[in-house]
Structure formats: C-alpha cells, structure tokens
Amino acid sequence: MNEHWLYRPRTLSRLRTWGVGLLVAVVVAELFVTLHPHFGFAGWFAFNAVFAFVSCVAMVLSARLLGRFVRRRDDYYDDDRLPAARSGGAPASDEERA
C-alpha cells in the first residue's frame, strides 16, 4: 500500500524523539537566559513547564467532570425528541399548532 510519509512508523518514532528532545532543550535553555519574574514563584527553575503541564491536566480533568453533568446526545435539541411532544402536551411544531 502506498502509505503517506506522515503515517509511516519511522516518521512517528522520529517525531517522538524530536518532541522529547525539544522538551528537554527548552527547559535547558532556561539556564542560558535571565528571567525577570514579577512574582517569586515564577522564578523557580522550570516553573512554566511544570505549571503548564499541571494546569492543562487539571483543565482537561475538570472539563471531563463538568461533562458528566452537561453532556447530552447530539440530537438532544432535535424536535422529534421534545419530551412534551412525546407525552402529547405541547404541539411539536408551528404547523401542528396552525
């Protein structure tokens, strides 16, 4: 099969290696610049890296938690699923009312 270069296993493993390398490089780079933190905690070594990772995980987890309460099937608002229409209460559409 004529596989696209993006989907070759070798490309994926290379991308992974480069990605990890980049993560290490950007943390190491912090040693070579002078940070000017406005808050004490922002000056800790690799603060931004840890902070970004932790806050992203926290955001995803809290979104999933909220999702438990607010997620509905994607036809929730479709008219034939109106609870009132099924129980015979309110007319389902303008045409019925007319």
């Binding site: 696209h4 993006l6 989907y7 990605g19 980049l22 993560l23 950007v26 943390v27 780079a29 912090e30 070579f32 610049v33 002078t34 940070l35 000017h36 406005h38 808050f39 690799a46 931004n48 890296a49 840890v50 902070f51 970004a52 990772f53 806050s55 992203c56 995980v57 955001m59 995803v60 809290s62 979104a63 999933r64 909220l66 999702g67 309460f69 607010v70 997620r71 509905r72 099937r73 994607d74 929730y76 608002y77 109106l82 609870p83 009132a84 129980s87 209460g89 309110a90 303008d94 007319a98």
Partner: protein
C-alpha cells in the same frame, strides 16, 4: 458631505444595497474594491469629529476618528476583503450583501462619536448578522438565526434603556469613558450599568455566552468567517472606549476564558470548537479592559486585531474542510493533511497564532495582556492568564489541527478548496506571520505609545516552555480528548428546553383547575383568551410574527418599567 468625509461604513452599506443590481461580471470588482476603498478612507480621514450634527436636541457625531477606531476599522476592512475573496464563488448574493451590511455596520460602530450612533449601527449589525446566518439556507441555521436575533434584539433593548437613561441623567450623548459613573450612585450609575450589560451581551459574556456557540457554527463556511470577526470585536472596542478600568470586567473576562476552554474541550464539532475559542480569546481582551492600564488597553486592541485575522483564518480552514468533505465533526475527520496540505498548513499557522507561538501575531499581542497583569502585581489574574495561555494551545491550537488533519486516517482524500478560498487563506496566514515577525507594524497603530518589547530571551523561552509542556499534556491525555457524539448543555437550555418542560409539567394541574372552576367561569375565561389572542396573538393583529411579537411585548414592559422609574424618581 464632501468626498473626503465619506464614512467608511457608508461605502460598505451602500455596496450591500447596490450589490444585487451590479452585473455579475462586475460583482467581484465591487466585492474586493469596496473593502479596499473603505480601508483607504479609514486612513485618509483626519482625527476628530468629521461629521457632526444635532438630533432631538443632542449633539451627535456619526463620524469621529481617533487611533483606537482606526485600529479596529483597519482590521474590519482587511477581514471584509479576505472574507469576500473567500466567499464570492460559493456564497449566495444574499449572503454577500448581508455580510457587507454587517461589516459596514461594524465600521459604523467603531467610528461613532456618540451613543445614539453607536446604537443605530449596533442594531444594524444585529440585522446584518442575522441575515448572514439566514443565508446558510438550512433549517438548523434558520432556527439558530431566530434564537440569535432574539438574544441580540434583547441586548439592543438593554442598550437602548442605558442610552436613554444616560441621555436623561447626563444631558449629553458623547461616547466617552463611563467607568467613573459605574462606581457612582443614582441614575447615571444605573444607565451606565445597562449600557455595560448591552455591550457585554455582544461580547459573549456570561450568563448569555451560549448564543455564540449556538449560532455561528450553523452559518455557511464563509458566513462563519464574517460572523467571527465583527460582533464580539465591536463589543471589545466599545468596552475599551466606554469602560476602561472597570474592575468587574476582570472577573467576567476570566470567566469567559475558562468557559471557552472547558466547553471547547468537550466539543466535537470543529467549527464549534473554534467558536468557543472566540469567547475564550475575547475573555483575554475583556480582562485587559478591566485591568485598564495603557499597556492593557493597547494589549486588548492589539489582541483584537490579531485575533480577528487568525480566527478568520482558522474558520476559513475549517470551512474549507466542511465544504469539500461535508463533515463537521472531529470524530468523522482525520488524516486530511495528506490530500489538503495547503488547508492544513494555513490551519496550523492559525492554530500557532491563537496559541501565541513566538513569530506569530498572537505572541506579540497576547503577551501584552499577560504582562499587563504582572506589572499591576495581580498574581492570581496572571496565574490564570498563564494557565489559559497553555490551555489555548491544548484545546484549540492542537485539538483542531490534530483531529482534522492528522490522527486516525478517516479515509477521505478531498482536494484543497478552490483557488479563491486558498488565496484568501494564504493572505491571512502571511499576515499572521508578518505581524509576528515585525510587531512594530501593529504597535504603531495602537492608541497609546508602545514601549513594550515582546522578543526577549526570557520571554520566548518561558512561552515555549508553557506551550511545549501543554503539548505534552495533550498527547498524554489524547484518549480523553477524542470527540464524542454529544453536545454540552449551556444557558440556552433555559430558552430552548425549559419552557417546554414547564408546559408539560403545568398541563395536568391546569386541567384539574379548569374542571374545578365550573362551566360558566371557564366560558368567560376562554372568551377573554380568544379575544386577547385575536388582537395580540402570535399570528394575528398587532404581532403577526411569533418571535418579534413576544420580543415587542418584553421590550414594551421593560420600557414601561424604566419610564415609571424615571417618572416616580
């Protein structure tokens, strides 16, 4: 009115009216020429009041120019141009005309020197945008446009109450900062609060944020591009001019930021993800207006400028995918980079910009806002803004391109979209990078002098740390981020579903009550009811359209209450 003082708004609005009468072969010229002419006019107009007059005893200035209005005017013209280029082959004539009316009205707001002119163009914008939604032609779009129109007409009423109150309390209608009045007492404070509420509704602020994600994703591929640019950003403009430094905006902005992130994380529809990110990014701007320093206000204006361009680019990219595949869900897409390389690259440039990668427009604008919080020593605000900056890369900067162009191969091999759409995308992608490479272009336009230097070693390294470790979190949590066939309930539940449930709930006890009342009373009530229905009913007499009838009644009651308040005072 000489040629030198033609309002840019008039060029586009007149164009909207004339468009159907222009021969099809000249139409493209008008579609591209008018936004360019408006852009030239934006820069040609002198500072200060260009047109002024009197209306109902109040001094009005329908055309007033300064640096702030010029920033927004410029980016509105650029978007109208790029949007028209993107749209002209696919979009209906109706959509193009509506989009020009809409863009013209937005230009009208940013060049309005008094609250009355702001209000007039504000309402015109609501009409134009509803028509853009309408032009999509689907039943869903029609329904969404009706909900959209109701929310915005309600917002218009709130704004009108504020403007009328301000006229009475202040005696004049010049559009200037009302922040001080907001903190005061009495009628001025109340009027300012109403004006602020009217402005915030258009920004997508809570509790009515749901209209943004309800309406925009139902528009046509090109319609969404226009819609993303004008309404929420004119709201940012009026907030910058009307309420700089109003502290309440910091909290509201931060809420919008995290509302956008959380809902976008739960979302499956690609354009809805992008639309939630409008609320998120406008949240940054609203927070900045609340901080209110020169750097923060510059940041809000600069970020609005950058945001309009990269968001239009992202929606063009998503719109192209929708156009060529007919699919709009993350869970049905994937691997499209193989056959749509140009759309993928443009989408990635937009995604990098929204995530504020160095060398893109988002980096030079959003950093101003985050640093403005730091300079004011607002530690909590800064921490939240930094977390949201990392989150922005995760929930949209990666989620959108990854699930659409990479990830699991969906098997589809559609080509890149037609040339006009590709050229429009490339144009905006180039702009995103140009602004990132030479921020001076943008900074020179801003209302206050800029000493800010975005590219320092420390800043670039810390930003890259934030973004790359957000990416690490993304790939580690990939299974939790995959789209599911769900929607997320929002405040719109209260006007879409709650009344129906209430009706179903109240019907049985009402029946019992009816029986208990006896025939004579029932007859009388029924007759009165029929009479009222004949006069005021949804399909009869005074209000023959259900939506506007209900709205008119609501508006009338609110007006009555305000009148009573000012009369009794």
């Amino acid at each position: 009115m000489s040629l030198a003082s033609v309002p840019p708004a008039l060029l586009l609005i007149a164009g909207a009216v004339a468009l159907p009468f222009i021969a099809p072969r000249w139409r493209l010229l008008a579609l591209l020429g008018l936004p360019l002419a408006a852009l030239v006019q934006v820069w040609h107009l002198p500072d200060g009041q260009v047109l002024a007059g009197e209306f109902l005893g109040f001094a009005v200035a329908p055309l007033q120019v300064d640096a702030l209005s010029r920033v927004f005017g410029t980016v509105f013209c650029i978007t109208a141009f790029a949007g028209a280029l993107f749209a002209y082959r696919q979009a209906s004539l109706m959509e193009m005309a509506s989009a020009f009316l809409y863009a013209g009205a937005a230009l009208g707001v940013v060049f309005a020197g008094d609250l009355l002119s702001v209000f007039v163009f504000w309402e015109l914008m609501a009409i134009g945008s509803t028509l853009v939604l309408w032009s999509a032609g689907s039943t869903q779009a029609w329904r969404a446009s009706m909900r959209y129109a109701l929310v915005h007409l309600f917002g218009g009423v709130v704004l009108m109450i504020g403007v009328a109150g301000w006229a009475v309390a202040d005696g004049e209608l010049g559009f200037r900062s009302m922040t001080a009045a907001l903190d005061g007492e009495g009628a001025r404070a109340l009027a300012a609060a109403f004006i602020l509420a009217g402005f915030l509704l258009n920004a997508g602020a809570p509790p009515l944020s749901a209209w943004v994600a309800d309406a925009y994703p139902e528009a046509s591929p090109s319609g969404a591009v226009f819609l993303s640019a004008f309404t929420t950003k004119t709201a940012v403009y009026v907030l910058i001019r009307g309420f700089p430094g109003a502290e309440i905006l910091v909290g509201i902005g931060l809420f919008m930021i995290f509302y956008g992130i959380v809902y976008a994380l739960l979302e499956n529809d690609i354009r809805r993800i992008l639309v939630y990110s409008i609320v998120n990014q406008v949240g940054f701007m609203v927070t900045a207006v609340g901080i209110g320093t020169e750097l923060a206000l510059n940041g809000a204006a600069a970020h609005a400028f950058a945001h309009i361009i990269y968001k239009a680019l992202l929606l063009m990219s998503a719109g192209s995918v929708l156009l060529v595949t007919g699919k709009r869900r993350c869970s049905e897409l994937g691997g499209l980079a193989q056959s749509m390389p140009l759309t993928a690259v443009c989408g990635i440039v937009g995604a990098m910009s929204i995530a504020s990668f160095p060398l893109t427009s988002g980096f030079v604008s959003k950093s101003m806002i985050v640093d403005a919080a730091a300079y004011q020593h607002l530690a909590l605000v800064w921490v939240l803004l930094a977390a949201a900056s990392a989150g922005a890369f995760l929930y949209v900067g990666l989620k959108f391109p990854w699930f659409v162009f990479f990830d699991r191969d969906c098997g589809l091999r559609p080509p890149d979209p037609p040339a006009n759409m590709s050229v429009a995308m490339v144009l905006l992608a180039v702009l995103c990078i140009a602004l990132g490479l030479s921020p001076g272009l943008l900074y020179a336009m801003l209302p206050h002098a800029v000493q800010y230097v975005p590219y320092t070693g420390a800043h670039v390294v810390s930003q890259l740390e934030l973004l790359l470790f957000a990416a690490l979190a993304f790939f580690m949590l990939l299974p939790a981020l995959r789209g599911t066939l769900t929607i997320s309930l929002d405040f719109d539940w209260f006007y879409r579903r709650f009344p129906v449930l209430l009706l179903a709930l109240l019907t049985p006890p009402a029946r019992l009550l009816w029986r208990a009342l006896g025939e004579a009373v029932c007859d009388r009530i029924a007759r009165t009811g029929r009479h009222l229905a004949r006069v005021y009913g949804a399909r009869e007499g005074i209000a023959s359209v259900a939506g506007s009838g209900a709205m008119a009644t609501a508006a009338l009651s609110v007006f009555g209450a305000v009148l009573l308040y000012f009369y009794l005072r």
